[in-house]
Subunit: 114 residues, 2 copies
DNA sequence: ACGCATATATAGACAGCCTATGGACGGCGC
DNA sequence: GCGCCGTCCATAGGCTGTCTATATATGCGT
C-alpha cells in the first residue's frame, strides 16, 4: 500500500546539488531555478517551492550562494541568487560524491541474480 | 560548514530497493543483508542497523517480504527474510523509477555551463 | 574468563522534502 | 475598472527515512 499522498518526486539529498549546478550557469531567481531544473531534466524533475526556498536559505547560511533583489526582464522584483567560490567548490564535491554513490548502487543492482 | 555529525552514507530512498535486490538473490537474515550490500557495492555503501531493521519492518507490513526464525549455518538463531511476489514486483518498479531519476539528474548535471 | 564477531531490536534526534497556504504584482481580456 | 492567470517569494506543519546510541544475547577462539 504505497502512500498516495507522497510523490517522492526528487531523490532526497540531490536538491542542493541541482540548484548549485543551475546557478553555475548564471545567476537566477528562485522561480527560474525551479523552471530551469524542470526543463533541463526533460520535465522529469519538479522542484516544489516548499523545498526550494528553505534549501536556498540553508545554502545562503552555508555561504554557497548570496542573493540580492533585482528586477526581472519583465520588470518584476525577484531575489537573484549567485554562486560563491565556496558554492562552486561544493558543487564539485557533491557531484563526485553523488556519482560515486550511484556507481555503488549500480554495482549492487546489476549483480546477477543467478 | 557541513554538519560533521551527519554522514549521509546512503542515498535516502534507496535502502528498500537495495534490500529487495539483495533478497531477490535468495533468503537472508538482516545482518547478512547488510554485509551483502556492503560487499556488492565494493565497500562503498554501509547499511546501519538502525536503518535496516526499521526498513525490514516497513517492508514486512507492506507485504514485500516475510520472515521466519531459522538457524544460520553456524547454528545461531536469525530471522530470515524472503521476497514475496509483491516484493519482486516492487523491486522492478523501484529499479526503473530510480534509473529514470538518475538519468534525469544526469541530464541536468551534464548540461554545459557555457 | 574474556573479547570479538554475529545477530536482533528499539528509542530518540534530526534533516529534508512534501502539501498547503498566504501574499504581492504585472499583463491581458473584457 | 475588474477578474484572472502566470510570475515570484515565503512560511508553517507534517511526515519519512536515516542516523547515533544503546541494549540484549550467543558462539567461538584463546
Amino acid at each position: 500500500m504505497p502512500d498516495p499522498t507522497r510523490s517522492d518526486q526528487l531523490l532526497p539529498g540531490t536538491l542542493e546539488m541541482l540548484v548549485l549546478k543551475t546557478l553555475s550557469m548564471g545567476s537566477l531567481h528562485g522561480y527560474g531555478i525551479a523552471q530551469n531544473i524542470q526543463r533541463l531534466s526533460g520535465e522529469a524533475l519538479r522542484v516544489e517551492e516548499g523545498s526550494l526556498y528553505p534549501a536556498l536559505q540553508r545554502m545562503t547560511l552555508k555561504g554557497w550562494v548570496r542573493s540580492r533583489w533585482k528586477l526581472t526582464p519583465t520588470k518584476r522584483r525577484a531575489r537573484y541568487y549567485t554562486l560563491t567560490a565556496a558554492g562552486r567548490k561544493q558543487l564539485g564535491l557533491e557531484a563526485s560524491a553523488f556519482e560515486r554513490l550511484v556507481e555503488a548502487i549500480g554495482r549492487v543492482m546489476q549483480t546477477d541474480a543467478g
